[in-house]
């Protein structure tokens, strides 16, 4: 579903991403681990066509991103570290707007409410302006947007950073249920615990290179941390 072939991004002589090869199948959750500046966000930006690849290509659903910027985005949903919403609009109005922009006009108000409810927004919060929302609530609206979009692939950029453990755990549950329905997930994260919990695969990134990849079934949490440190500082 998500595919990178020799994907490279240069800023001058600086290699932000160095020949990344990656393939994420439906139902897989691939967690990119690595220090800040290792190339995780760059990878996501390339899949979103927010930046132009220096060489190689990113593909979504078999389509090259750079050549089909609008078509490939139909299959994608993106949740950033901070889901930003329109503060003067309510949660429902935000969801309505974002789903309409994603060309899903088919939902009734009730269905939209259900998306928010299932993402964990309480009924009384749905009609409140999002300027009163906590970060966790905004991330949940982000999930609702992604679910309503019926995306086949999810791009997550440190979506749980700064969330309290409960919100973070709820987020993981939602992610699991989405991957259970066959969504391919690429998640950049610092959270080794979350990666182990929700990921099917992990990859370590260092200075733009994917230096190791594992399936989480093979490893325990303690091992993951050991391996991470080994790769990062070794």
């Amino acid at each position: 579903m998500l595919e990178a072939i020799g994907l490279t991004k240069l800023y001058g002589s600086f290699k932000a991403l160095d020949s990344l090869d990656l393939s994420i199948e439906p139902g897989q959750v691939f967690c990119l681990l690595g220090a800040n500046g290792a190339g995780k966000t760059t990878t996501i930006n390339l899949f979103l066509n927010f930046i132009e690849a220096s060489s190689g290509e990113a593909r979504v659903h078999g389509l090259q991103v750079a050549e089909n910027p609008l078509e490939t985005k139909k299959h994608l949903a993106y949740i950033p570290e901070q889901v930003m919403l329109y503060r003067h609009l309510t949660g429902l109005e935000n969801l309505e707007y974002f789903t309409a922009l994603a060309r899903h006009e088919e939902y009734s108000q009730d269905q939209l409410r259900r998306f928010l409810n299932e993402a964990g927004i309480s009924a009384d919060a749905i009609d409140r302006r999002v300027s009163t929302y906590s970060k966790g609530m905004r991330q949940k609206v982000g999930i609702a947007i992604a679910v309503a979009k019926r995306a086949k692939a999810l791009l997550l950029d440190e979506p749980t950073s700064g969330l309290d453990p409960k919100a973070s755990s709820e987020f993981s549950e939602l992610l699991k249920s989405m991957s259970g329905e066959g969504v391919a997930v690429l998640m950049a994260t610092h959270d080794l615990f979350r990666a182990k919990e929700t990921g099917t695969h992990v990859g370590f990134m260092k200075q733009g290179r994917l230096v190791a990849r594992l399936t989480t079934a093979e490893i325990g949490h303690a091992d993951l941390e050991g391996l991470y440190l080994e790769h990062m500082h070794g």
């Binding site: 985005k73 993106y78 930003m84 329109y86 974002f98 922009l101 994603a102 947007i145 979009k149 791009l155």
Partner: protein, 470 residues
């Protein structure tokens, strides 16, 4: 899609307190300006109606006197202020709307409120036109400076673009959102204005409806250009703050600096004498002989022609009244001189207006201002048309009186006429120009506005196509 985006923009604006206050203030000022304009317009119109009604009566009941004395008695002519002048009074406060028509002289216009104005009025009067020309652009900037820059800063732009929204849709949607917000403010004002127009007394320069539609079109072009420029800057600016500063700079240039600079430049390039200098120049030429021809020589030449025509040697032997004939000769001697002096002066004023229209290519305010005054019938071109017709009428009237004396007074010096003649004298009827005439002098301004709109739309579109997410 586009409508969806526009609706969301509009919803956000109506919920944002800052926009509500700014919009409310502008709407209030617009209503006040319309009210003031209405008040001023109905006062002037009522005064005119009374004056026009009485003027003929006063003329006809001036009593027994010689026709030439009646020519000296004179009449007043009043420029009808168009209905739309309540929206844009243009230069009428400076040029005046009333002129005294008498024998021998082409007079300057009277009733120039600007003469009685206080210094505060130099900053400009609160007119509906000024609100549309100066404050609405400012409001557009406030509504739209953050359209892209703000969304980029807050991060919503990344999310919106991740959905696969076309950048051009986003730009058009946002533009429509601003237009919608303006419409919300303007529709009540426009309706009020339309009601006032239909209720307004006094004949407008003909084609009131067509003029109103043209006027609306001109302002749409102007305000549309501001929407385009604002969005283009918002796309390109590094931050919302930078966008705001840049756009305010643009506003100061277009709405404050350029008009003043254009007026000063126009005066420097096409200098016009002051009222005193103009009068002094008239007096001086009269002294030295008009066009280098002394009046006595002029009269002598015409007298020889007259004597030859009647085949007599002496004016005593003429079958006509010589004094009446001579009055008319003196009139014709003076007319060529007034024609020349006033044409020179008015050509300069027109050149200044033309120059200001050209500056419209740099600052669209000058273009819309020129078009607006012209369509409201309150610009210099309309003034000149009226003044020239009034002057032609003066000459017809004076000639009518002098000719009566020439043909009927015989050799008598105690020739008297009364209401019988005064009521046969031609009355002044202003042939008001149609809207096409008004616009025909405004092609430069119109071209400037169209160019601004097209250019700003292209600019906004091409900027949006290259919209960066961060």
């Amino acid at each position: 899609m586009v409508v969806r985006i526009a609706r969301k923009e509009l919803l956000e604006m109506t919920r944002d307190g800052r926009f509500r206050v700014a919009g409310g203030v502008v709407a209030l000022l617009l209503l006040i300006a319309l009210g003031l304009g209405w008040h001023r317009h109905s006062n002037v119109t009522a005064a005119h109606e009374i004056a026009i009604a009485q003027e003929r009566e006063i003329w006809e009941s001036q009593g027994e006197k010689s026709p030439h004395s009646a020519a000296h008695y004179g009449v007043y002519a009043f420029k009808p202020t168009g209905r739309l002048a309540f929206f844009d009074p243009g230069t009428e406060a400076y040029t005046g709307v009333t002129v005294w028509l008498e024998a021998h002289k082409q007079n300057q216009f009277l009733y120039r409120p600007a003469l009685d104005g206080n210094t505060l009025q130099r900053f400009g009067e609160l007119t509906a036109a000024a609100v549309l020309q100066l404050l609405l652009p400012l409001l557009i900037i406030l509504l739209a400076f953050s359209a892209f820059a703000g969304e980029r800063e807050s991060g919503t732009l990344r999310q919106v673009l991740s959905l696969g929204v076309r950048r051009s849709d986003l730009a058009v949607g946002k533009a429509l959102g601003v237009v919608g917000a303006l419409a919300l403010l303007l529709v009540p004002a426009v309706m009020l204005g339309a009601a006032a127009l239909t209720a307004a007394r006094a004949d407008s320069p003909s084609g009131g409806l067509v003029r109103t539609l043209f006027l609306a079109g001109a302002y749409l072009l102007y305000l549309g250009a501001f929407v385009g420029v604002t969005l283009a800057v918002s796309v390109r600016a590094r931050s919302a703050r930078f966008a705001l500063v840049a756009l305010l700079g643009f506003w100061v240039f277009v709405c404050l600096a350029a008009p003043r600079a254009a007026t000063d430049l126009a005066k420097a390039l096409y200098p016009t004498p002051s009222v005193q200098e103009f009068a002094a120049a008239l007096a001086e030429e009269k002294e030295t002989g008009i066009g280098g021809v002394d009046y006595d020589d002029f009269l002598e030449a015409r007298k020889q022609e007259l004597l030859a025509e009647y085949g007599v040697d002496d004016v005593e032997a003429l079958p006509i009244n010589y004094a009446g004939w001579r009055f008319q000769v003196s009139e014709e001697y003076g007319n060529q001189f007034f024609d020349r002096h006033y044409a020179r002066l008015w050509d300069q004023f027109e050149a200044q207006d033309g120059f200001r229209q050209k500056i419209g290519f740099a600052a669209p305010l000058l273009a819309v201002r020129s078009l607006s005054m012209s369509l409201a019938g309150s610009d210099f071109a309309h003034f000149r048309r009226f003044a020239e017709q009034a002057e032609q009428y003066r000459r017809r009237l004076v000639a009518f009186l002098n000719d009566d004396m020439r043909d009927h007074a015989g050799a008598g010096f105690s020739y008297r006429r009364d209401q019988g003649l005064w009521s046969k004298a031609p009355a002044f009827a202003y042939d008001a120009p149609d809207p096409v005439w008004a616009v025909s002098g405004q092609s430069t301004a119109l071209a400037a506005l169209v160019l601004w709109l097209v250019l700003s739309a292209v600019l906004a579109r091409s900027a949006a196509a290259r919209l960066e997410v961060s």
